[in-house]
């Protein structure tokens, strides 16, 4: 005889403000097989959980229905409490009175009635719950870090320093990411390269880290603790062991006019190149799309000059499989470019540049050796205009969010300009100055007060060229919306931070969710900011949303701790909410007819073929069999099975049917 306990939570006022919890409790206690019903203000708190535990013992309960919030929120909490009360944790069910009822309806009798209905269905369901045992799976104690920017570097080093193996995959020929392009960093104006390059070297030299540069993750299969990643190591056309990094090939390559990505198109590089002198690994790659030999079949100058004969024109991409237990996604971000700002002449007017281009101009290792010279004629700009929020916070442009880093780097740019061009004038057009962060606002004030940067609150409507000057038309909204016109020599746009090209495809390959802007989505905006919805895959840095260096580094360390915590266990337990094909004794064996329609629809490739053989080895029957290690319990196969031979533990057909009947029946 079932003895069910019902525990109704007020969730502060979240539920009780619209649902009459007393009435729900009273109705619940009258339900058949309900042995105990009670209500409490915060059921998830310690006294609330004790209430559940004690009631199980005192009333000899056989099932528990906690009527509170979404199971996504607190099901683990109450399963644990149920287990502590001595019951199998899977005999606990959540009735969602918050998201499904109190939050979406107004106060009233009908709302309370609905709450009672929800409780009733779950009471009916829990009576049919089976005591399930968690599935135990081993953990591969190696982590895959995708992306070698500052976030990936930090995560990799932290995990490696915990004693675990790390495989880092970087798409470009060198690690370092956008940070390696920066000149100085806010709010301290310390040199970006000086703080980053030692960490890059550390990655290369760390005994626990294997670095695959010029490589991409093509596929990720498996599940938490047991992933298999397919990595494509793009052909560098180089024997890396033979190459000493002398750089002779780079200086001798006759093809020298390829726009340099690292210099944001403001310089050129040869076809065989390292992105920048401090690159890690400091070994060149051949850019096949631009190499004369690959295009015309002639040249091979690099091969001829190479003292160690390290050039390999016939090298092919290599695809390798690596086994890892956790993944940190740290693929970073990009900035909006090209045709997005016709009103500012970006892409058309040479002296209208973006923030990353300005970083290269200001960098000691940049195309101008750190001198601020405008791209069109190499002159020192006497008047420079910075436009903040170029694209950001502009729903008309489809980017409603704040890119977060621009206020700070624009202040930094203006400051760097003033430090390098003493007689020059710097103007900043802004909407609001968002400088929350340690020593951040002080930094902006310094730009305004000590370096006399002219901050104008207002938007710029247009930038156009006239006689070699750039006419910037804007408005000063603090001066009664006065139109402002500045004749500038150079304009720098703080263009919106956006997701990397290819972020969407990568997210799909990794099975992690992403938002409408193609940024990767965290599992919970507040309480699970580094986890994704896929267990075992974590986020670090600006692939989640635009972030500055301190935030990226903090998050990377957070992700590393999550990985280390996962690796601290010798095996993992998984919820046993998986599908299974029914099995009986001979001669039926199973109602499965072996049609295998379930196989192609399974998103996790969890369905295998099992053959039942007679003693003489003859196949009697072919059946579908579900690998419970791979099954994620989505239920697609259950819905598709024509003979109803598959059931999902925890959500059996019978349980779901009972719930529906309970809703329809008048009690």
């Amino acid at each position: 005889m079932a003895r069910i306990g019902v525990f109704i939570c007020h969730c502060g006022e979240n539920i009780s403000a619209t649902v009459d919890c007393g009435k729900v409790c009273e109705a619940a206690s009258k339900l058949k097989h309900v042995a105990y019903a009670t209500e409490y203000k915060y059921m998830c708190s310690d006294p609330g959980q004790s209430l559940v535990k004690n009631a199980i013992i005192e009333h000899k309960l056989t099932g528990v229905v906690v009527s509170a919030c979404s199971p996504r929120m607190h099901e683990p909490t109450f399963r644990k409490a149920t287990a502590e009360g001595g019951l199998n944790p899977f005999l606990c069910e959540m009735a969602n009175l918050r998201e499904h009822c109190s939050w979406v309806h107004e106060k009233g009798e009908a709302t309370t009635e609905k709450a009672i209905d929800i409780v009733r269905t779950l009471v009916e369901k829990v009576k049919r719950n089976a005591a399930l045992q968690p599935i135990r799976v081993p953990v591969t104690k190696a982590a895959l870090v995708i992306g070698g920017g500052i976030a990936g570097i930090q995560a990799a080093l932290d995990i490696a320093n915990c004693g675990h193996k790390v495989i880092m995959v970087e798409r470009s020929p060198s690690i370092g990411g956008h940070m390696s392009q920066l000149s100085e960093t806010f709010p301290t104006l310390d040199c970006s390269q000086c703080i980053l390059t030692p960490r890059m070297v550390e990655v290369l030299q760390h005994p626990n880290i294997t670095l695959y540069s010029y490589a991409e993750v093509e596929q990720l299969d498996g599940f938490i603790g047991n992933f298999v990643a397919k990595i494509r190591k793009k052909a560098k056309s180089l024997d890396e062991k033979a190459c000493t990094g002398c750089g002779l090939c780079i200086t001798k390559c006759p093809q020298k006019k390829i726009p340099n990505e690292f210099e944001e198109g403001m310089g050129f590089r040869p076809a065989i190149y390292v992105p920048f002198p401090q690159a890690v690994p400091n070994r060149p790659v051949i850019d096949k799309a631009n190499c004369t030999y690959y295009i015309k079949g002639k040249c091979k100058v690099c091969e001829i000059v190479c003292p160690t004969k390290a050039i390999r024109f016939d090298q092919e991409d290599e695809v390798i499989d690596v086994e890892v237990g956790a993944v940190v996604v740290a693929t970073g971000f990009d900035i909006k470019r090209a045709d997005f700002f016709p009103e500012y002449g970006y892409g058309k007017l040479k002296d209208v540049i973006d923030g990353l281009q300005f970083e290269r101009l200001a960098s000691a290792s940049g195309p101008t050796n750190g001198e601020i010279l405008r791209p069109s004629d190499g002159q020192k700009p006497k008047n420079i205009v910075f436009i903040a929020c170029a694209g950001s916070r502009d729903p008309a442009k489809g980017i409603a969010y704040c890119s977060k880093i621009c206020c700070m780097y624009t202040a930094k740019h203006a400051m760097l300009y003033k430090h390098k061009v003493h007689e020059g004038n710097a103007h900043v057009f802004y909407m609001d100055i968002r400088s929350a962060g340690k020593n951040y606002d002080e930094f902006v004030r310094r730009a305004i007060e000590e370096d006399h940067v002219n901050y104008i609150r207002g938007r710029v409507s247009t930038v156009y060229e006239r006689d070699g000057k750039l006419i910037v038309k804007g408005v000063d909204t603090l001066l009664g919306a006065q139109p402002v016109e500045i004749v500038a020599d150079m304009v720098v746009l703080a263009t919106a931070g956006v997701a990397n090209p290819g972020a969407e495809e990568l997210a799909q390959r990794l099975h992690v969710s992403y938002d409408s802007h193609k940024f990767f989505a965290e599992a919970h905006p507040k309480l699970k900011p580094v986890e994704t919805n896929t267990a075992g895959i974590f986020l670090a840095g600006a692939c989640q949303n635009p972030k500055d260096i301190p935030d990226s580094v903090s998050q990377a360390s957070g992700a590393a701790v999550k990985v280390a915590a996962l690796f601290s266990q010798s095996e993992l337990t998984r919820e046993p909410l998986v599908a299974a094909v029914n099995r009986f004794g001979p001669p039926l064996y199973s109602t499965c007819v072996g049609c295998f329609m379930c196989q192609p629809v399974c998103p996790y490739q969890a369905i295998e073929r099992e053959e039942i053989k007679s003693r003489d080895g003859k196949v009697i029957k072919s059946l579908a069999k579900i690998n419970e290690g791979l099954c994620q319990g989505c239920g697609t196969c259950v819905a598709l099975c024509r003979s109803k031979s598959i059931d999902l533990y925890g959500y059996t057909n019978e349980q779901v049917y009972t719930e529906v009947v309970a809703l329809l029946n008048d009690y």
Binding site: F341, T462, Y464, R466
Partner: protein
């Protein structure tokens, strides 16, 4: 395909030159646009500043008339009329109840089946494909294409061209041999309806457009809106007085330029009606 034309008030008054060039060009390409019978005012700026229902009912009646006469595509050469008609169609499509109400007001059926096209779209679709064989005198001039405000706005409703840096007219002009210069004032305001009440403002704003076009070495400003044309052309003496300069760059309708290129005479395309003398022919 039955093509109708809605001339609006301008093309029968201050922009007769525009009207003449559209019809002359159509004839040269064997197209016969049918004027929508019994057409009325589109409401222009006045109606939508006073009464929303009226501002929708007036264009709705024009659209309903076009439907009644089996017109598939309505060519609307005036940018302001074009805007009013497209916006009305959009509003009535979005709000079925409003549509029913407007149908009651105009006492006509309206379904929204006729397509509304501006002059550039019309040229793109019917003139350009046959243009190459017909060009007799390539229009070898540097031109500043001036789009004004209503040809590409509001972008969300029109979904036509790039709103901040439109290109369609530049492309059309390049097809007859013209060089479209990079022009900063493509969509800046000409002063529009202030032409009558505040001629000084028109002089200032239109003057900026003319000054920039001249400064960049354009031989002509190309327009596709009667309002823009009258401000840049008819108001030239006021502009010159305001700026204390002698601007003499001509302002030519896109249809006039194409007409000249395919061998029509200046008189046929209405060039003699301009205030600023057009030395191009």
């Amino acid at each position: 395909m039955k093509i109708g034309i809605y001339p609006g008030c301008s093309l029968e008054g201050s922009a007769r030159d525009y009207n003449e060039s559209v019809f002359a060009l159509a004839k040269a390409f064997d197209i016969e646009p049918v004027q929508i019978p019994d057409w009325n005012c589109c409401g222009a700026t006045a109606a939508h500043n006073l009464n929303k229902e009226l501002s929708l009912a007036l264009p709705a009646r024009i659209l309903a008339l076009a439907e009644k006469h089996g017109v598939d595509e309505i060519l609307v050469p005036c940018a302001a009329c074009y805007s009013r008609l497209v916006v009305t169609k959009h509003e009535l499509q979005k709000h079925p109840e409003l549509k029913n109400r407007i149908c009651e007001v105009i006492e006509m059926d309206y379904k929204g089946t006729s397509k509304i096209i501006n002059v550039i779209e019309w040229i793109d679709k019917y003139i350009i494909p046959k243009l190459e064989e017909k060009v007799k005198k390539p229009f070898n001039y540097k031109v500043a294409c001036y789009y004004g405000c209503l040809l590409v706005r509001p972008n969300k409703v029109l979904n036509y061209d790039r709103v901040e840096d439109p290109q369609t007219m530049d492309v059309v002009m390049s097809k007859i041999g013209a060089t479209a210069i990079d022009f900063a004032f493509k969509t800046e305001c000409c002063g529009a309806g202030l032409s009558i009440s505040r001629t000084d403002i028109v002089s200032k704003l239109s003057g900026k457009i003319i000054e920039d076009a001249e400064h960049r070495g354009a031989d002509a400003i190309i327009v596709a809106c009667p309002m823009c044309h009258s401000n840049l052309d008819m108001r030239r003496p006021d502009i010159n007085k305001y700026w204390n300069k002698e601007f003499n760059i001509p302002v030519i309708f896109v249809t006039q330029a194409i007409g000249l290129a395919v061998g029509l005479t200046p008189a046929q395309v209405g060039l003699k009606r301009h205030f600023v003398e057009v030395k191009i022919s």
